[in-house]
């Protein structure tokens, strides 16, 4: 059954990822995912301030997610609201397991995700972009972290809900994985799903993540097209 925007149940929206787009940031990424337009930037590893947050055995991670006032239909007041603060925290939970934190004791890695235009799935796009930005910054990681949401719309389990589907839909489930180990590092859900539907939705989201992963790899390799070393 076709969806509101004509996609098949397992079809992703159009995604474009570009690595290394900012001058000052140590690593950066710009992603267009459907109508979402999002920047991710990484600073670090760097000195921990305030000092008392320092850990002697590993780096610490700080994640910030923010939506620009003009990114949504009704202007949003500047600065992160409670939803944004929560997203910052789950983003950290999604990305940190992939980072080899013990390489950089007594240091800090700061991730910043800014949404310039929003159309559902911003946290998934944000995590996907942040992962690329981390790699762009040369921070050692076990793997990249692709992220994608699945959900239930019109009694069907579908992949990558757009805004209209999110508004009218019956469930929304953002997921992120570490592809190599198939470990799920982001999982949230709201709506109503039976046990079977949950399993189906997670499996579908994981398949979506794997597709997103190939796009992340492409974006990083594209930055160094023609690379060689003597």
């Amino acid at each position: 059954m076709k969806r509101i925007d004509g996609r098949d149940a397992e079809e992703l929206r159009e995604i474009n990822i570009e690595a290394g787009v900012l001058k000052r940031a140590d690593g950066s990424c710009y992603i267009e995912w459907g109508k979402n337009k999002i920047y991710a930037a990484v600073y670090g590893p760097k000195q921990v301030l305030p000092r008392h947050l320092e850990r002697s055995d590993r780096a610490i991670l700080r994640c910030r997610y923010n939506m620009a006032p003009f990114s949504v239909e009704e202007r949003k007041r500047p600065g992160p609201d409670r939803r944004a603060v929560e997203i910052g925290k789950v983003m950290q939970g999604a990305l940190e397991p992939a980072i080899l934190m013990h390489y950089y004791p007594k240091s800090m890695i700061e991730i910043s995700v800014e949404v310039l235009e929003a159309n559902a799935g911003t946290r998934c796009a944000g995590i996907t972009a942040a992962s690329v930005a981390l790699a762009d910054a040369g921070i050692p990681m076990r793997d990249l972290v692709p992220s994608c949401a699945s959900g239930k719309v019109d009694d069907q389990i579908v992949l990558d809900l757009c805004k209209e589907e999110d508004n009218e839909g019956q469930a929304d489930m953002p997921v992120a994985i570490i592809p190599r180990s198939d470990q799920i590092t982001l999982l949230q859900m709201d709506g109503k799903l039976t046990e079977e539907e949950v399993e189906k939705a997670i499996a579908l989201a994981i398949r979506g993540c794997q597709k997103v992963y190939t796009l992340q790899v492409e974006a990083l390799k594209k930055k160094y097209a023609g690379a060689e070393y003597e």
Partner: protein, 274 residues
Amino acid sequence: MSEILPLIKKQYLLELAKERKREDERGLDEYRPLDIQVSSVEKAEGSAVVTLGGTKVFAGIKVDAGEPYSDTPNEGVMITGAELIPMAAPDFEAGPPGQNAVELARVVDRGIRESQAIDTIKLCVKEGELVRLVFVDLHILDYDGNLIDACGIAAMAALATTKMQVLEEDGTPTEEYVDLPVRDLAIPCTFVKLGDVLLLDPSLDEEKAMDSRITVATDKKQRVCAMQKGEIGGFSLDEVMQTVRTSKVKGEEIRAVMREVVQWEDSEPDTEEN
């Protein structure tokens, strides 16, 4: 590298300035490469991305409706804000706007407001009760020097391409869209002083090395509509007048570029009274 400018670098920039040279080989009155893109974001009624050298800023316009200020019951309201978000530079911290962000927003606002670029009378829906509120939100993505000009250009380009829904007198939106009434293109020009030399469009290091800074905004008739001396240090009257003269010329050059990009037509070409 930390944000301290090494003394040896400052010395080098001062020496170059004395010989009327700059690190990136620009002229003293020359802008870095400028790129203006408009209508980049659908959700905003107007938007622009400006890249000036390595500086990249985003201006988003949202048009809402609300009560007018009591002293201007028949005029729309413009509100400008700027956010120096952490991704733009290693030393930008998250949190409410500090002095730099507030000054930036207010200087950009002043140029546009005082030039009367927006015909605020046309933003009145019902006198004393309902007017259009125009929110200008500046989002800094990459800070590499001269945020004021980059933001001023972005804000102006975004406003000049803003389309808003027409409202009935009681505030009900109609199906009709109309251009935001923009009748001028205010352009700020910012200079820094290194020793005795004035440099237009400072790079990041030139800003770090500067003694002080001055911004002059001009309108389409090359009248000065806003000025701001910034940071510590001072200017002589001659130096100020030099920046005014240069701003008139360079402002017009930027205005010409902007006209092209936003396809702006002067709706009041020969009005003396503005």
